[in-house]
Symmetry: C2
Subunit: 549 residues, 2 copies
């Protein structure tokens, strides 16, 4: 058996290693057009920032290591330029000598990844300091550019995970950084309301954030570039990082007439087989099924690439028929001192799909408040109110966000219902958690709603309230109220509510809120049990506030 | 409806708060013999150590707060001394005035907790510096004792979670601390091999650890006490903390002729109802079903107490019939710079129960090795090899142990099989994880074993090997080998193995090992595919080593 693998990083290298473990005899040839295999793409931003000090640490495995340990014929600086599916050969080009030659295969694996999108913005080819970041060479170029230009000013275009990570690292290096984003928020896997909490953090970090804004032109301006924005602003900068997304690498595949899916990714079946039975594909280049919606999606993340690479190896050898069913898209990023993470689908996507959902907001400390160092986490759960099916979750905070999102991703895999999250028995001691984990509260709240014991109102519904019918009721303490309240609210301290019921009007609906929703829930209970109409503000004042700034 | 709650802390206070949220009319009386309600038992060790600076922070809710916010009639310094189930009254005693009086109930909830075991060790009543720690007063006494005695030396008897936490905190305060433990390990929820890794850490922290040793006598020795050990050693100390476990508080219940279970805890049905239909019980005082074995067990932890308190409230009001099915016993403790956590059943318990199991050891970094600050985690999974059912897991490390144990606890709740752990899609970016989470590896390894692609040998089986039949084969690098190896091993670097196969003997079985099991697995694969008999050491050299010291 002779296997050729095109692409020597996450998916390709994982497959190669597994292939060898399973079969000592198989001839394995790994083709990589770049200079390196098995490098840590995900670490690139951090070496730019100097956080990862040693460049060599990014090389998880080397050509020599792959040869010695795994007996794999690795050919770097070699591009696969054509697949001949009839003859079952790949035409390879040695990029150093420009020599082209054929290599035959029994099975072929494609893990060519994705490439950064570079839109035809006016002037983009006239300036020489617009960079993208995908591989070691890109990183080296950026580091070189920063040095030779003695860069003080950077513009990052696109506020996805990579854009934000690069922004953080450039800031860490001492540059003044602006982020330009076309949408009204950073990090699209999150909803606006969750991202809004991060926008405040970026401000604290003195990163200039332009939302709802695009770039219309790059103008050469001596050594610098002037970035012209849609709103007419312009920024003179030493360096521009373009990080508006990636697109599957499908040139080879298209030319070989293999099927491309509706999303632009390579179409594969559940065994990772392309439309040609001897050719498999994995990683950023393929489209996958969405775990929640079952629709085709692109998920350019390392976990799926590694998982698929491992799994496809067995299938290619015909030893097993491992299925890859769907991707949840669990993702995480460090955003300066905070963490942002998500899994499954968010609210805006469900809305777009026309799927009915409900959201719950829980704002709790990562660990017991009385133990030093505890910090708040804001979590959002999106689920089906009738069936309890969890669609997804998002979270931000300083610590412990990864844990909560991982637990929810696991619960989703296990088919655990929203209200059954109250039964997750999670580890508690004061340095690590509270006796009830924030996730347990999702279960409690979902159950309360299911049982008709709680009615929520969402932050975005507040602006549509009819003041003749609804009264905003702030039940926090006087002190909290004085530091800022929702305009138009009346105030009664929760502890005084029972004594003041006679001042309220049974004809009106009371929109109760506290800081995070907990006291509001008790106030809601007091009101409805006394015959008043009421709803509790989901997430409370602290969740509403960042959405307004 | 009139409800009396006996015990005003975790279970009792949770029930009271929930009762009020659900019903504004119910008369709720909470009886607590101590001075405080709703305090953070779990924080007590950390205030002794000065880590939690403010004593008041331990008071999560106060009598005043409970009254004002929840309209609950809280009576502290009041002991319930008798339950008359016929008359449906409780006899209460005001501990300040010694006055006794009756209070009637429609429903009664017992959350009396557990009390520290104080065995009749010789001399225990002749010395005045042996303390136990359960509540605020105990804590105050210990702090007072430390101060007035100007304590420099402490002995902690019993190395359970509380003992170890207290030891850490006394060390933190500058005392020299010895821990005496009857078993061969600290923290019984862990297996010896996992605890062994912590024993080394305690040594590093300069805590003196006596294992396999008990206390036979306390002798008064001026202001100090001499603690005499089974092995004849003695230690002069200023203060002794006795933390050998707790026992359910069942005096009241016994006298009222309510049923006590086989474990000594109050017997309740799945609705938390005792043998008397109007009396419910929760928390440390009850026995529960073990999630894994379905046997009756005692689990004196805060999560179950809080969960049961919340759930029982609805049942008591007859609004719902919430079931509490079983407890997993997920637990965690900070052990100086490390964390130890576990969920479900461990190996030694399964062995005792005669349940067949297999264990897997994974030793991985908490996050990508190339990103600063990554540290190893050692995880142990215990599962059924035939069905894939996960029985439990344990973990130790510096960071991220809580996350992994919580994910496994969630997977267990979701009925996820051991081999399906490879499909958990967990959040990855370099500061938080690796592209494959350590838990994913459990899935991979379990699958490899299931498919006959891997055979393990356990560290404790090495001593029984017949040198005529088996060869220990260290396949690490020369440098690693020189720093320490398993006695009797031969050495061939993995990268040289293929070239040296002719030196090996097909009649022998090769016990391969590397540092953690990964390279060993590849070596195993090379050997068996070349016709050799082999097994890979589960957990590798690094797991074996601490078990030998
Ligand atoms: C800066 C950055 C940060 C990231 N951070 C994260 C993160 O924190 N978390 C996360 O989950 N994911 C992250 N990712 C995404 C992750 O790296 C990718 O999802 C993963 O590497 C995809 O694996 P792959 O094998 O499909 O593609 P790649 O790893 O990109 O490998 C594809 C390889 O194929 C080669 N190739 C393509 N075509 C040919 C050809 N015709 N001939 C020869 N060679 C060819 C390419 O040169 C490339 O090296 C990040 C990516 C980047 C760029
Ligand atoms: C030092 C320490 C550290 C701990 N750390 C952790 C940890 O990190 N994680 C964890 O999960 N768990 C921990 N625990 C355990 C946790 O605190 C308990 O599991 C939990 O408090 C049990 O709740 P409960 O309501 O059953 O009992 P308790 O919280 O003990 O409350 C029972 C109350 O009932 C009162 N009472 C009893 N009998 C009567 C009577 N007849 N009349 C009136 N009042 C009565 C008692 O005075 C007591 O205050 C720790 C416990 C201690 C002591
Ligand atoms: C490193 C790389 C080559 C993968 O190599 P790999 O040998 O498959 O590495 P892994 O650590 O994942 O696998 C180790 C093997 O040991 C096994 N293993 C792990 N722990 C074990 C243990 N304690 N006992 C026995 N076996 C164990 C695993 O199951 C796996 O074998 P399998 O896949 O045959 O089941 C590839 O992932 C890579 O190139 N990574 C860098 C690029 C990248 O991922 N970029 C994106 C993220 S930055
Ligand atoms: C504090 C204590 C009195 C419990 O009080 P509590 O009011 O039930 O507190 P919780 O925070 O758990 O519950 C808050 C309520 O708000 C709800 N809630 C939480 N977040 C919410 C949100 N964002 N929106 C709406 N409702 C929310 C919860 O569901 C819960 O209501 P429910 O139980 O009726 O469903 C009790 O746990 C206690 O005494 N603890 C200290 C003692 C102790 O636990 N010791 C051992 C550990 S150290």
């Amino acid at each position: 058996m002779k296997v050729i693998i095109i692409g020597g990083v996450a998916g390709g290298a994982s497959a190669a290693a597994r292939l060898r473990r399973i079969s000592e005899e198989t001839e394995i040839i790994m083709i990589e057009r770049g200079d390196y295999i098995s490098f840590a793409n995900c670490g690139l931003p951090y070496h730019i920032g100097g956080v990862i000090k040693e460049r060599d640490n990014l090389l998880v495995q080397t050509v020599k290591g792959m040869k010695e340990r795994f007996n794999i014929d690795v050919r770097v600086k070699t591009e696969a330029i054509k697949i001949d599916t009839e003859k079952k050969v790949v035409i390879l080009k040695n990029l150093e000598t420009s020599e082209e030659y054929e290599e035959s295969y029994d099975k072929l694996l494609l893990s060519p990844g994705a490439s950064p999108i570079k839109p035809p913005i006016k002037g983009i080819n006239d300036v020489d300091n617009v960079y993208t970041l995908r591989n070691m060479n890109d990183m080296d170029d950026i580091i070189e550019g920063l040095k030779t230009r003695e860069a003080k000013r950077a513009v990052v275009i696109g506020a996805g995970f990579i854009g934000v990570e690069v922004a953080e690292n450039l800031k860490h290096k001492g540059l003044k950084v602006s982020i330009i984003e076309k949408a009204n928020q950073i990090l699209t896997p999150m909803d606006f309301d969750i991202a809004a909490q991060l926008h405040l953090h970026l401000k604290e970090q003195e990163v200039e954030l332009y939302l709802n804004n695009g770039v219309t032109e790059f103008r050469k301006n001596g050594d610098k570039t002037t970035v012209v924005l849609e709103n007419g602003d312009f920024i003179d900068t030493d360096i521009v990082i373009l990080s508006i997304g990636v697109r599957p690498e499908v040139k080879l595949v298209k030319e070989a007439n293999l099927e491309i899916g509706e999303t632009g990714g390579i179409k594969v079946n559940e065994y990772m087989q392309t439309s040609n039975k001897d050719i498999y594909a994995v990683g950023d280049a393929i489209e996958v099924n969405c775990f929640v919606s079952n629709k085709k999606i692109l998920v350019p993340l390392a976990w799926p690439a590694n998982r698929q690479g491992r799994l496809v190896a067995d299938n290619m050898l015909g030893l097993k028929q491992n299925k890859y069913i769907a991707t949840m898209g669990t993702a995480i990023a460090k955003v300066f001192d905070m963490t942002a993470a998500s899994t499954g689908l968010n609210e805006k996507t469900l809305k777009r799909y026309g799927i009915k959902y409900r959201t719950l907001i829980v704002n709790k400390n990562d660990h017991a408040g009385y133990y030093p160092g505890s910090t708040p986490i804001v979590l959002k759960l999106v689920y089906n109110e009738e069936t309890g099916t969890i669609y997804g979750a998002q979270g931000i905070g300083y610590n412990g966000v990864d844990k909560r999102i991982d637990v929810i991703a696991t619960a989703m895999k296990g088919g655990i219902k929203a209200w059954d999250l109250q039964d997750l028995e999670l580890a508690y001691a004061p340095p690590f958690n509270s006796a009830k984990d924030p996730i347990n509260f999702f279960g409690y709240i979902a159950e309360n709603i299911k049982n008709g014991e709680l009615k929520h109102i969402e932050w975005h519904e507040l602006k549509d309230l009819d003041p003749d019918k609804s009264v905003l009721l702030d039940i926090r303490t006087k002190e909290e109220n004085m530091l800022g309240t929702i305009p138009g609210s009346i105030h009664i301290d929760l502890n005084e509510l029972r004594k003041n019921l006679d001042k309220l009007n049974k004809e009106k609906e009371y929109i109760v809120y506290c800081a995070i929703g907990v006291r509001g829930f008790l106030a809601y209970r007091i009101l409805v049990q006394n015959g008043f109409k009421a709803r509790n503000l989901n997430g409370g004042y602290k969740f509403w506030y960042p959405t307004t700034v």
